[in-house]
């Protein structure tokens, strides 16, 4: 159990903080021991946070959860179809881990209803998640198709960000 937590933390660090030092020097091998616990944890956290205090909470929860899960699968398939050569589960794992910044932004959105704070935190989370994913996804395909592979990724994170932006405040 503790080993799983350590693995999650290690993968998180290697994905989200792309600083090459020590054992995290090679991004390609960073997620070699991929695991799906981390992505599951973040998807649940995201869905719970975004549906907190909503009027139709279960609908929002299922929407967010399905969107994250299906979105990650569809994005990976998209990269493979465009000619990229990536390991399916490794890419899935990476996309799941990159939801972490959006989780943190969602927590901020749940905590406050100030539009400016929400927008800022969501933008920050979006930029961070995109900067973690885009090099991986864009590097897996041909140079001329880079935008085709990265546009859906940005779309996914933007839609999750929109869920956070229009979230109704808790306690209403």
């Amino acid at each position: 159990m503790l080993a799983q937590v350590v693995t999650i933390g290690r993968n998180l660090r290697s994905v989200l903080i792309p600083i090459k030092w020590g054992e995290f020097s090679n991004r390609d091998h960073a997620l070699r021991n991929w695991d799906l616990w981390g992505p599951l944890l973040f998807m649940l956290l995201l869905a719970t946070t975004l549906s907190w205090g909503e009027q139709s909470a279960s609908q929002v929860f299922s929407l967010v959860f399905a969107e994250c899960g299906l979105g990650a699968i569809v994005l990976t398939v998209n990269v493979i179809l465009l000619g990229g050569d990536i390991v399916f589960f490794q890419a899935l794992c990476l996309l799941g881990y990159c939801l972490f910044p959006m989780c943190m932004a969602a927590i901020v959105c749940a905590a406050t209803s100030n539009k400016i704070a929400r927008t800022l935190s969501l933008l920050g989370g979006l930029v961070w998640a995109s900067c973690a994913t885009v090099p991986f996804v864009g590097g897996a395909v041909n140079e001329k198709r880079k935008a085709l592979a990265t546009f859906p990724v940005v779309l996914l994170y933007t839609s999750i960000g929109w869920f956070g932006l229009v979230k109704s405040s808790a306690g209403s």
Binding site: Q59, L81, L148, T158, S159, V166, S172
Partner: protein
């Protein structure tokens, strides 16, 4: 190496017709005979010939009157005339001297190039080259000079391709089983600029209907799928935003508790599933129906082409969704109808030739029904989505 060439029969006589052997000289620096005794220039020996210590076309050792000048004949370019090798060079068998054609007496052109004179064919065992050669190549490569080896390695894949197991690449992707994603790669074989062109063409393409011709060989399903997905997202966002603006206006104007205006804005998530159904359904289901009708009339249209064109036809609703945030209802109607007419014309003009080729008698009803369905979808979009 001169010995080897002579053994292969390259020594002796001027070439009648281009010899199929590979010119061993990478640069046309060639020694010539004493026709040009009055010209003497310096040159640079080869840097890349290592065997005999630079004997080709090295310093004229024992031919007193021969000079070495890089020479090419004015009439022939170097691709058609590899110089002949004269075995009668006086240097002890290791320096083949080249006799230029006798007509090139007027001028001497100095050329400096590293271009390899093109040659085809192989040196070695030509007859069964490539036949079960997976293990057999290394011993043959020992006889071949580096340049020949390079050229043969370039030619090898053409021969041995049929003998090696076909590795599924983009041309042979149908060798994957149906559950393997890579089998469907040819339908996503587009670059960014092509996708952008197709989207732009669907906006203005009613006037020059070249979409179908351009995408005939390489239709893609990337565009239809992601345009539909983006449309779902954008209609949800714009719809909710416009509704929010409306609510805020109502909430400010009449702070009347008895009015139907709710006290807080709640985002409407129910339309997402409906919009998914409408957009995906229009592209894929209606596209399938059109294809079935065309098949009934024995057209050879591929379903991918039809899905491609239907998908890109919907791309005009992307900016329309954003523009329809503006609160005026008349403007919304005008914009939506304009977009519907444009994309309808786009569909019409591009499908027209194919449908007419399919069944000349029945083409008009088919085309009209295509247009009619599109118009209905446009109106439904307006009433359901864009009337915030």
């Amino acid at each position: 190496m001169g010995d080897y060439l002579r053994q292969q029969g390259f020594g002796g006589g001027p070439p009648s017709g281009a010899p199929t052997g590979i010119n061993p000289f990478a640069q046309p620096h060639v020694p010539i005979n004493n026709t040009y005794t009055d010209l003497q220039t310096s040159y640079e020996p080869y840097e890349d010939h290592e065997e005999d210590g630079g004997t080709v076309p090295s310093i004229p050792i024992s031919t007193p009157a021969s000079v070495t000048i890089p020479v090419t004949s004015p009439q022939h370019n170097q691709h058609h005339h590899p110089p002949s090798i004269d075995p009668s060079a006086a240097s002890g068998g290791t320096v083949p001297s080249i006799t230029p054609p006798p007509t090139a007496a007027s001028s001497v052109q100095f050329i400096s190039t590293t271009a390899v004179p093109s040659a085809t064919g192989k040196i070695g065992k030509p007859e069964n080259w490539g036949a079960n050669q997976l293990g057999g190549q290394p011993q043959q490569q020992a006889h071949i000079s580096p340049q020949d080896q390079q050229q043969q390695q370039q030619q090898l894949p053409l021969d041995s391709d049929s003998l090696l197991l076909p590795a599924p690449n983009s041309q042979q992707s149908s060798s994957y089983p149906f559950y393997n994603i890579r089998r469907y790669r040819p339908y996503f074989d587009v670059d960014t600029n092509e996708v952008l062109w197709r989207v732009g063409n669907s906006f203005i393409g009613a006037f020059s209907a070249n979409f179908m011709q351009t995408t005939q060989e390489k239709p893609d399903l990337y565009g239809p799928f992601w345009i539909c997905t983006t449309l779902i997202f954008i209609t949800a966002v714009s719809g909710n935003f416009a509704g929010y603006l409306q609510w805020r206006q109502n909430h400010r104007d009449g702070a009347d508790p008895a009015s139907a205006v709710q006290s807080q804005w709640f985002t409407d998530y129910t339309k997402l599933s409906a919009s998914a159904g409408i957009f995906y359904g229009y592209v894929f289901v209606v596209g399938l129906l059109v294809w079935l009708v065309l098949r009934y009339f024995r057209s050879d249209m591929r379903i991918v082409n039809i899905l491609c064109i239907y998908g890109y036809a919907l791309s005009i609703y992307l900016p329309i969704s954003v523009i329809c945030i503006a609160p005026s209802d008349i403007a919304r109607w005008v914009i939506v109808l304009l977009g519907t007419v444009t994309s309808g014309l786009f569909l019409f003009m591009n499908l027209r030739e194919r449908i007419m080729a399919a069944g000349p008698g029945k083409s008009m009803p088919i085309l009209l029904s295509v247009l009619g369905v599109h118009a209905v979808v446009g109106i439904v979009l307006k009433l359901y989505f864009f009337s915030y």
